[in-house]
């Protein structure tokens, strides 16, 4: 019960993470602990050139352990890559683009992922799915 309240079994103090890339261009807010079959949200914020397009790459094991239930706002274009999925987003007049995802945990265990824009280091995510 204490573990649940603390967020070690999904959603809580120890589960919610907010990570930024070293150059500060990518920021991801996500849940570290998930439960199989449950849905959690993820927010990806990207900084780029104002009123232009930026390409975001979701790579690693994320798409193996999770199903993307929703993705808002709609991306301009998407394509697969050797690493995972690439999404083209439109930035606003301040050069900011936000992407809201709803992820449903389908797998079990630890999944290591990587979210980056082209030419940047990006951020690394570790997510664990409980049965």
């Amino acid at each position: 019960m204490v573990l649940g309240l603390a967020g070690l079994l999904s959603r809580g103090l120890f589960s919610t993470r907010d990570v930024r890339s070293e150059d500060g261009k990518v920021r991801v807010e996500y849940e570290m602990f998930h439960r199989n079959g449950s849905m959690n949200s993820m927010k990806v914020s990207v900084s780029g050139t104002p009123d232009s397009q930026v390409e975001l790459e979701l790579a690693g094991e994320m798409l193996e352990g999770f199903s993307i239930e929703s993705l808002q706002p709609a991306h301009l274009r998407s394509r697969s890559s050797s690493q995972g999925l690439r999404l083209r987003l439109q930035t606003d007049n301040q050069g900011q683009a936000n992407l809201y995802l709803t992820l449903r945990g389908d797998g079990l265990g630890l999944f290591r992922s990587h979210i980056a824009t082209l030419g940047t280091a990006g951020v690394k995510l570790d997510q664990f799915i409980f049965p």
Binding site: G4, L9, R11, N36, G37
Partner: protein
């Protein structure tokens, strides 16, 4: 975290609701009331689990409900006020006036020792009138 809070909130809400609705024994259960209990159970299940049917969530909810139940039992043992609040008090349905004359002859109606009708008594002694009490 939300599962624990949901389970705790649901436990307390049901406790208050059934306290208001009143207790009744299984023998007094009508078909409609039995059906009502089943519907309440189904609604409760939906509220407790939501769309998360994982093993971890189910265990978390069960552990939370049991922990609250055991915690309240311990609190009831320690505090008479909490015990009366949660379990209620027996309702006296018949009381015969205590008579000084009867105190010398009537047997003590309940076992143990302590106070009965404000007067001390001991097992085996003829020292109190009879009261009939029944749990409501």
């Amino acid at each position: 975290m939300d599962s624990v809070l949901r389970a705790a909130a649901m436990y307390l809400a049901l406790m208050v609701l059934f306290k208001i609705a009143g207790r009744r024994s299984m023998a007094e259960l009508t078909t409609f009331y039995f059906l009502l209990l089943m519907i309440i159970g189904e609604a409760t299940q939906q509220a407790l689990l939501g769309d998360d049917f994982s093993l971890t969530n189910a265990m978390l909810v069960i552990v939370t409900l049991i922990a609250i139940d055991v915690g309240l039992s311990l609190l009831k043992q320690r505090s008479g006020w909490i015990s009366r609040l949660i379990d209620g008090e027996p309702t006296i349905i018949h009381r015969r006036e205590w008579q000084a004359a009867a105190s010398a002859t009537a047997p003590c109606p309940i076992g143990g020792s302590g106070y009965y009708e404000g007067r001390p008594f001991q097992p085996g002694r003829r020292n109190a009138g009879r009261d009939q009490v029944r749990d409501h």
